[in-house]
Symmetry: C2
Subunit: 426 residues, 2 copies
């Protein structure tokens, strides 16, 4: 395990990471699929072999977390057990089994002068990933970067430092076993927050993109300080909109799942919108399902009349990502008003319309501009795995480069390859 670097040495240490990553990226860009896949399998094997070491490191993190008074929710995110370690190894193998995202011919066409133009996928280069408490992100993020031929510099949360370092050691061992430059996956060897600032602002030479994964304060810091391109991940203020044509049983099932299956993920619903004309028919049953499951309901006046359990929503509720068993509920005049509400208060992540009329769904798809729009399906499907991408680094809510689940394919760029026979330009 790396010794932590002193804060005075951060610039040198980070530049050294950057140089090593750039060299590793150059090697990976020319590596074959077999070698990258072998590395992923060797990393999985190392994680299984060193499971006890990982769990011991995790116990150390948990102890200091309890001593620092971390919440139960945070401690739960941080905690590993044998099955969570096994899940990390399986995750690496799942990514290994994905189709190669590199060297794909994305488009090809001829020109009248005989030039043949191909657009071919290539790695992004060096990716910086800044994440928070979940130590498994160390393995998941490294796997996606490796699969897509990118070198990665990982910067995990301080509370999971020892767990992440133990996982990182396994990855290094796996890379070496496969004959891949171990600098393909590196970890910032300090919990000093100054290292995050340095990563964001002073490594333009070494980093091609930064992917932040975390809460509001991390994202705001990234937006303030980043000098390198960012694949943005904002909060998920996700909406379920019940159109007047919604079936009440389907509406109940979808709202319950979208809100309560897991309340702490970014694809969890935070606000329910209901057409005024169908509120009386839909809301009592939908809200009973929610309250029976332990969900608090914050509604506008109309909602409070129909749902006795509802307390009053304030203006702030419409732009709050609860990540908890709380939902805000609002009655709207029609689909236009619903899309207007989403435009004003949403974060561009994921929205769902429940409607029997397909035309209503098509109109919703046209009028609402979020990364993921669903008709008659739970917002909790907003997930790279559920999309069939094998895994994800997160759900991008920006509009540049990638939007929605960011998997191995989204961690690529492209180049143009043009084949001629002596053409010069007139």
């Amino acid at each position: 395990m790396n010794a932590q670097i002193e804060s005075g040495n951060i610039p040198q240490a980070m530049a050294a990471l950057g140089q090593a990553a750039r060299a590793a990226a150059d090697g990976l860009a020319m590596s074959g699929e077999e070698q990258r896949n072998l590395a992923l399998r060797e990393c999985a094997a190392a994680i299984r072999e060193q499971s006890a070491i990982i769990l011991a490191a995790n116990e150390k993190d948990l102890e200091s977390g309890r001593a620092r008074g971390l919440t139960t929710a945070l401690l739960d995110r941080l905690a590993l057990d044998a099955s969570r370690v096994e899940a990390m190894a399986v995750g690496l193998e799942t990514v290994c089994d994905l189709p190669d995202p590199l060297n794909r011919v994305l488009a090809e066409w001829d020109r009248p002068n005989g030039l043949v133009i191909q657009r071919v996928s290539v790695p992004l280069g060096v990716i910086g990933i800044i994440y928070e408490s979940r130590p498994n992100v160390t393995a998941d993020a490294a796997a996606l970067c490796l699969k897509s031929g990118n070198a990665v510099i990982l910067r995990g949360g301080s509370e999971s430092y020892h767990s992440s370092q133990a996982i990182y050691t396994c990855l290094t061992d796996g890379l070496k076993s496969a004959g891949v430059n171990p600098a393909a996956v590196q970890m910032v060897p300090t919990t000093d927050r100054a290292a995050v600032g340095y990563l964001l602002s002073s490594m333009t030479e070494y980093l091609d993109v930064v992917v932040p994964r975390g809460g509001k304060s991390l994202i705001q810091r990234v937006q303030q300080e980043a000098r390198v391109p960012v694949i943005g991940h904002l909060e998920g203020i996700c909406h379920v909109y019940l159109h007047e044509s919604a079936d009440v049983a389907m509406a109940s099932a979808i709202v319950l799942n979208a809100k309560m299956r897991r309340t702490g993920i970014c694809g969890a619903a935070e606000t329910l919108l209901v057409d005024r004309s169908a509120a009386e028919a839909l809301l009592p049953e939908v809200c009973t399902a929610l309250t029976n499951a332990g969900c608090e309901i914050r509604g506008d006046k109309f909602v409070q009349q129909l749902v006795p359990a509802a307390i009053a929503a304030t203006d702030e509720d419409w732009s709050t990502e609860y990540l908890d068993a709380i939902i805000s509920v609002r009655v709207v005049d029609d689909l236009n008003a619903a899309s207007e509400h989403i435009r004003q208060f949403g974060s561009g992540h994921t929205e769902c319309i429940v409607a029997d009329k397909a035309e209503a769904a098509e109109e919703f798809f046209r009028k609402v501009d979020s990364a993921i729009l669903l008709h008659n399906a739970s917002t909790q499907f907003a997930d790279g795995g559920e999309f069939g991408m094998g895994a994800e680094i997160g759900i991008a809510t920006g509009r540049i480069h990638a939007r929605g689940p960011v998997g191995a394919e989204q961690l690529t760029s492209y180049k143009y390859v043009v084949r001629g026979s002596g053409q010069t330009r007139p």
Copy 2:
């Protein structure tokens, strides 16, 4: 024509532009192809009708340019005549005739649970374009943004201010004639450089991306100050590499064209690399063609021995974008050394290999990672029009979002549309 705003009013004036652009973008995102195409044709018509007004405004810019002592090259970039105005109108019509880049289903797949997932192209939103002396960029950039359903805020160079304003008036008239919100195309109404700073740093709420077009100082300013995502355009230090299998006649023709067809464009070759084993056979003829065309040759020692006209190249030459009738020439050991030179000194723009052996070209394509790689064709084909994209905003040298020529298709993002039948996530 807009009155220039006072520098004290820049924040308010820019925020007003931003708000209007956001509203226009919301409208454009839902507009049909017919309306956007009609707007492009109306803009072209307005430019033809107001040709005399544009030329008068251009004369004003040229007068003050001459008074300020602008170089002949800059004055030439700035100058319009009847045929250049007609070319702008034709450019708008060419973009109009491109296929609609919006609402395309980019990918579609089913999930085992019955969900049907589509990835559908959408506009980026609001684009800021910062450019320098060529006034025709006003029309070209607006056309590509409009075609792709984006609102645009244009900020032209101060030396072409009156010309750009006159063209901008035509665009406004054209938009109005087509019933499109004229705020779809706006122009920053001041030559104050503080407005560029504000655009880059304080408009994250209103701008989805900034595209800088210009020289090194602009690009550096953008990299320093930008808080909004950037589609980067660095300089073009483009290389032609003559493999030992190159045909001498083809090599001469390609090098001459790549360097001398137009020396001032970013796709012009700046450095020639030649395999040592073929230097004697290739360089004398290739360099004679160049010197006969008036090109200065700066070579390493080996080159100076073979080419009497060559003066000594310094280390600085290898990383200089001359944009002039000068070429640096270096002898390399082999393809590996050539790709290493390009990695070290290139800007990731465009490189060409001249080789009879196709395997050499394939190896070059694998080992060199620039936006555009050509085999046996001039680097001056690095151009959106030559690629068949109809037009371009520039050649992106970054790795995020778009790489190579940026046309209407590259100015789009996407969203996921998921159709279900009541699915909830287990």
